[in-house]
């Protein structure tokens, strides 16, 4: 037997290697897609719950707003809460749409890119919810309490107070404004700090860890599964 006699056998060997690598990748892609889908379900369920809460808050704050359209304080405070709730609801709904648009059958690099974009979008949504929350947590609490409690009584420092439906109107204005001002300062500092130290470093290992933590366990798991598939695709030649 000579080397020249082996040319056909070697060509067949090459074809077998190609076929086997294709089959392995196909199987791994199937398994990974199933894992990604099952990791995505709790993520979508949680985001859907958030949208439902956002819609409820929007309706409640919108109701309070509509009842006091002639009051500048209400228009300003309840209006801000309403707009913030609508903004967060739309942002969360867009996150759901983006998650649903993940192309499981696409190229691995594309799926990785989509997941990375989704994680960055999750981070920005979280950032604005956090910063906006610092400004509006107190007004939101008052507006929602007014919408939910109406004219019920409440106990404060051992004394029972009857409160009417215009809860916001009874809050000392300077105190409310001081809280909002503090929140706005915190928002400005937070946004400045995020832009300078976080947004520009989201691709660094530190930024990736932050994205992992902010975007949650499910997206972390999805990233891991896709990365495994990517590692196989890129390294399959070595197996």
């Amino acid at each position: 037997m000579q080397l020249d006699d082996m040319l056909t056998a070697w060509a067949t060997h090459g074809e077998k290697i190609d076929r086997l690598l294709d089959v392995n990748e196909h199987l791994l892609r199937d398994v990974t897609t199933r894992k990604v889908r099952s990791a995505l379900l709790p993520h979508l369920a949680w985001r859907t719950f958030e949208v439902a809460v956002g819609i409820a808050v929007s309706i409640l704050s919108g109701t309070v707003l509509s009842q006091h359209l002639d009051n500048v304080l209400y228009v300003t405070v309840a209006g801000s809460v309403f707009l913030f709730a609508v903004f967060l609801t739309i942002t969360t709904a867009m996150l759901i749409v983006r998650a649903l648009q993940l192309d499981h059958g696409g190229r691995v690099a594309d799926v990785q890119h989509q997941v990375a974009k989704l994680k960055r979008a999750e981070f920005h949504a979280f950032k604005w919810a956090l910063l906006g929350g610092v400004v509006l947590w107190l007004p939101a609490l008052l507006v929602l309490a007014e919408a939910l409690l109406g004219s019920e009584s409440t106990t404060h420092r051992g004394h029972t107070h009857a409160i009417d439906s215009q809860l916001l109107a009874h809050v000392p204005l300077p105190w409310l404004l001081a809280n909002i001002a503090f929140g706005l300062v915190a928002l400005a500092i937070g946004q400045f700090w995020a832009k300078k130290h976080v947004d520009t470093k989201l691709r660094s290992p530190w930024g990736q860890r932050l994205l992992d933590h902010v975007s949650g366990r499910q997206l972390r798991a999805i990233s891991r599964h896709i990365d495994e598939l990517s590692a196989f695709s890129n390294e399959a030649s070595a197996r």
Binding site: D4, R107, N234, E235, A236, R239
Partner: protein
């Protein structure tokens, strides 16, 4: 003076290129690395080198010639480094030669025997045989290995004689690596 034509591949096109030719990279790593983990490392290094060299591809040559040149450079460097660290290395286990990750590649007896015989060759000789078996002509082989056509012809005849002995049942004789055999 040779004119270089850049491929200007983006990341996705490059990944696709690697995917299309992973069988080639697999064959190279299989010939030079006994350990599957080493094969993964070498394949990663090959991919990294291909990415770095993607602007230097000369379109007058086949894409496989370009991939072979880089893959063999990486694999041969690894092989020589390993030889320095493991001077008393044993011949490769036949099973190791045909393992392909989780799945076992069904390799015909002829190819198994050929792989064992190829493993007895030196680093450059292995490269020459791989290129020859994959249908590259003498000019392409000479270009990949940086030598002359006539040198390729001479070496190939010598290797064929060695492999004939090995394939027909003669005791395979390990060739000491000739580090500057072709350059």
């Amino acid at each position: 003076m040779r004119i270089m034509h850049s491929m200007a591949l983006d990341a996705n096109q490059f990944t696709e290129l690697i995917r299309q030719h992973r069988g080639l990279i697999h064959k190279v790593t299989l010939a030079y690395c006994a350990d599957p983990t080493d094969r993964e490392d070498v394949a990663q290094e090959i991919a990294a080198q291909l990415w770095r060299a993607r602007d230097k591809y000369d379109e007058r040559f086949r894409i496989t010639t370009w991939i072979y040149r880089i893959a063999l450079n990486v694999a041969i460097s690894f092989y020589r480094r390993e030889r320095r660290h493991h001077t008393g290395r044993q011949p490769l286990d036949e099973q190791l030669l045909v393992q392909t990750g989780d799945e076992q590649l069904e390799v015909s007896e002829d190819v198994q025997r050929l792989l064992v015989c190829i493993n007895t060759l030196g680093a450059i000789e292995k490269a020459l045989v791989l290129l020859y078996l994959d249908g590259h002509d003498h000019a392409a082989i000479a270009d990949v290995l940086g030598t002359s056509n006539s040198n390729v012809g001479t070496k190939l005849n010598r290797i064929k004689a060695k492999l004939r002995t090995c394939l027909t049942g003669g005791a395979p004789t390990t060739t000491p690596e000739n580090s500057n055999a072709t350059r």
